[in-house]
């Protein structure tokens, strides 16, 4: 009984330390974990119920893609944690994407979107995905005219945006507004309940995991703040997914991405890895860096990492426990952790409690409004 009490006390102490001012890791302090604040909303795209409803329709609407095959929801499936269960996102027919399709959940909190942070808002991310040649492959004007052929959309765009005919830019704004509703409900997340004072919300194992998270395992170095992400970019030395060694259609996209992202010819010729942030900054030190993802809802968002290399959390923990991967340029933050099997299980128990109790925001595809003849 005493021992149990001590364990609880230790967990609470660590949490309090982390919540209040941050835990010192070396010389750095880190923003504490904690419940998510209210969703940040850009002043030029305020939330309204009608806008969110419109955005939901558009998110599921196949007409916002080149050949009607690839709505947002094709790669961000509500029942698959708002991502896909495949390591690499499926991509447009005839192609294969080259990165893991990230969950939409809680993306409202990211300052930059995509694994390499190449998009600065949800409003800008949506067209990049819908128009990308290995994603939606849609033409802006074609998609806009498709919306204009749907009387229900004409009516709704008028109501929501006060415009006489649907605009594609407003479509992305509505989708962004919808995505801002896809956030974790703190009352349904064990860790958030715990952080708000429900000490029974985390099992002893999960509490030990929390202590490891902010302590021995060093997770908090990057996975900090309410989102459990520093929104910074790190090179984990992660190997490329083997699919790029073995699958022709994946190799096509791999080369295509190097080509369109403007690397040198020598880099293109030798490219055997996704260079991540480097494509955006072209700074050599950014090669292989990817944005720290949120750890929230990860129970529902396997597989993991920017290329979906790890199918389970156990794989992820093993990877960090040995100090990350072999690829060059690895962050000095990664060191072998020396976690025992028990500690890994504890850590996993904690990580899973960063997810909602049930898969969040599972929803069916809404009935989409049809085209009309416009004489």
């Amino acid at each position: 009984m005493n021992l149990k009490f001590l364990r609880y006390a230790l967990g609470i102490l660590l949490l309090v330390v982390s919540l209040g001012g941050g835990l010192a890791m070396g010389e750095r302090k880190f923003p504490p974990l904690g419940p998510l604040p209210s969703v940040p909303v850009p002043p030029d795209n305020p939330m309204t119920t009608e806008k969110v409803e419109l955005g939901k329709l558009l998110f599921f609407d196949h007409r916002l893609s080149g050949d009607l095959s690839t709505p947002c929801s094709r790669c961000h499936v509500p029942a698959q944690g708002w991502g896909t269960v495949t390591p690499i996102s499926p991509g447009y027919p005839g192609t294969q994407h080259w990165r893991n399709g990230q969950t939409i959940l809680n993306t409202a909190y990211y300052a930059k979107l995509f694994w390499d942070g190449s998009s600065f808002s949800l409003e800008r991310q949506a067209p990049a995905a819908a128009g990308g040649n290995v994603a939606g492959n849609g033409d802006d004007v074609m998609m806009e005219e498709r919306l204009a052929q749907v009387p229900e959309y004409v009516k709704r765009f008028k109501e929501v945006f006060g415009i006489d005919r649907p605009g594609i830019a407003q479509a992305w704004m509505a989708i962004a507004a919808f995505e801002r509703t896809l956030v974790s409900d703190p009352t349904k997340v064990a860790f958030d309940r715990y952080a708000k004072g429900d000490k029974n919300a985390l099992s002893p194992a999960a509490q030990r995991g929390l202590a490891l998270f902010i302590g021995k395992a060093g997770c908090l170095q990057c996975h900090n703040g309410p989102l459990a992400s520093d929104q910074d970019y790190h090179n984990l030395g992660l190997p490329e997914h083997p699919v790029f060694e073995t699958m022709a259609i994946a190799q096509i996209t791999h080369r295509y991405e190097q080509y369109i992202k403007g690397v040198t010819e020598a880099q293109y010729r030798a490219a055997n890895r996704d260079m991540g942030l480097y494509y955006v900054t072209k700074r050599p030190e950014d090669i292989g860096k990817f944005r720290t993802p949120s750890l929230r809802e990860l129970k529902y968002t396997a597989p993991y990492m920017h290329n979906g290399l790890f199918e389970t959390l156990d794989h992820v923990l093993d990877f960090y426990n040995v100090g990350g991967g072999p690829a060059p340029g690895k962050s000095p933050l990664l060191k072998p952790l020396g976690l025992t099997e028990q500690e890994k299980q504890d850590l996993k128990a904690f990580l899973e409690r960063l997810s909602s109790d049930e898969p969040p925001h599972v929803m069916d595809q809404p009935k989409l409004p049809p085209y009309a003849v416009m004489r």
Binding site: R63, G66, D67, L68, S69, Y92, P93, G94, T95, N133, V134, N137, D139, V141, M142, E144, E145, R146, A148, Q149, R165, E240, F244, E245, T246, M247, A248, I249, Q251, I252, T253, H254, R255, Y256, Q258, Y259, I260, Y268, R269, A270, A271, N272, Y371, A372, V373, M374, R375
Partner: protein
């Protein structure tokens, strides 16, 4: 002036076809006799003859010139690419889906299929003899000077194949046989988008009419045209007035005319086609594009009033194989086409003043159709490749 020119042209046709059907001669003789009655017209015609011919660019009917020889390796590569669905964004269609060899190198439908989700709003023309065209598309929005540009426009346009050139070259680089073929066709080096366009264009330059009865007739084989067809030729150059627009080796003046062809209802009644049309009008900058409910033809390119609903005069070669007819495929048969012109074109306005009721008898209409059919040669048969070279895994990092 117009009077003089008309007869000068007829005269030249008669010169070119010395043994033309008596009808031609009679027509020309009558015309010439009338011309004599106007000394002024004759004088003007004779004095201005060379200048008029150049200015009007109205060459006589005649055989097609021979296109420049193409490098066999480029043609062979282009032939495969023409049938390869991987040149479309989603691998759903190839060039040959809308330009099918067995359907006269068109698709046999009034309106072209276009890209999935974006069906097109005009008829897919055949690609035979495309090399000789001075302008591309029904509205002439591309110059004929550069055939690879036509290929590029088809591969990348959202309503055609909706593909990205950079992605295409990486796709083809993933096909070992293609890589070898590109090396042989263009010298050693990666497949590039430019080479893709050039290879397909090289193949298309080989797609020309062969051995049409009319060409044989022009070359002296009197028996190549039946008596009925020869009567049709006389009508073509005479009473029916076809040569006003259909002349030269291609039987096209390369100009744009409004014929009053009715709209194909599906461009509005079918929402997806309407979308494609509206998006097209927007991207070309047609004024009030979102409210236009018709295909404005050449006007979309020039925005000139006189080009409203004008369309490029198509070649008449190979039309035996290329039904249905007109820019929107609204006329199903050649008989329909002849009837259309016989009544002076369509009822839509504006309409070219060149179109007037012709007063053709049924026999004359049959003769005209017989002549028109003689403009079609042996079918240019190219079979679909039984298989296309496949993707293969490459050594990763040796790009």
């Amino acid at each position: 002036m117009q009077f003089g020119l008309r007869h000068v042209c007829t005269y030249l046709i008669a010169l070119l076809i010395p043994d033309a059907h008596p009808g031609v001669t009679r027509w020309y003789v009558c015309g010439f006799r009338r011309a004599w009655r106007s000394v002024a017209a004759l004088t003007a015609g004779m004095v201005l003859l060379p200048a008029v011919l150049v200015a009007q660019q109205a060459p006589p009917l005649g055989p097609l010139p021979t296109p420049p020889a193409q490098k066999a390796e480029q043609v062979e590569l282009g032939r495969l690419l023409f049938f390869d669905e991987r040149l479309s964004g989603d691998n759903a269609i190839a060039c040959a889906y809308c330009h099918q060899p067995e359907k006269g190198w068109g698709d046999g439908q009034p309106l072209s299929e276009g890209y999935p989700g974006s069906p097109y709003f005009r008829n897919a023309p055949m690609v035979l003899n495309v090399f000789f065209q001075k302008q591309r598309y029904w509205d002439g929005r591309l110059s004929g000077a550069d055939l690879p540009t036509l290929v590029r426009d088809h591969l990348t346009e959202a309503h055609f194949m909706n593909a990205d050139g950079r992605l295409l070259q990486e796709r083809l680089k993933q096909v070992p046989e293609y890589v070898e073929m590109f090396d042989r066709a263009f010298g050693k080096g990666d497949p590039s988008f430019g080479k893709i366009l050039n290879a397909v264009a090289a193949f298309m330059r080989t797609l020309v009419s062969r051995n049409s009865p009319f060409d044989r007739y022009l070359n002296g084989d009197q028996a190549a045209l039946s008596g009925e067809a020869r009567s049709g030729l006389a009508l073509f150059t005479g009473k029916a007035g076809c040569t006003q627009c259909h002349h030269g080796p291609l039987l096209s003046d390369g100009k744009y005319h409004a014929l009053g062809v009715p709209e194909h209802p599906q461009i509005i009644e079918e929402p997806e086609r309407h979308i494609t049309l509206r998006r097209f009008n927007r991207t070309l900058g047609v004024p009030n594009a979102v409210n236009v409910r018709e295909d404005v033809g050449r006007h979309a390119v020039t925005k000139e009033r006189e080009d409203w609903k004008a369309f490029r005069t198509p070649t008449l070669r190979e039309l035996k194989y290329t039904a249905p007819y007109m820019h929107n495929g609204t006329l199903a048969t050649l008989v329909d086409v002849v009837n259309f012109y016989n009544q002076g074109g369509g009822s839509a306005t504006p309409k070219s003043p060149l179109l007037k009721p012709l007063g053709l008898t049924d026999a004359e209409k049959r003769a005209l159709v017989a002549f028109l059919e003689s403009l079609s040669g042996d079918p240019v048969v190219i079979t679909w490749p039984e298989s296309l070279p496949e993707y293969a895994v490459r050594p990763f990092g040796q790009n």
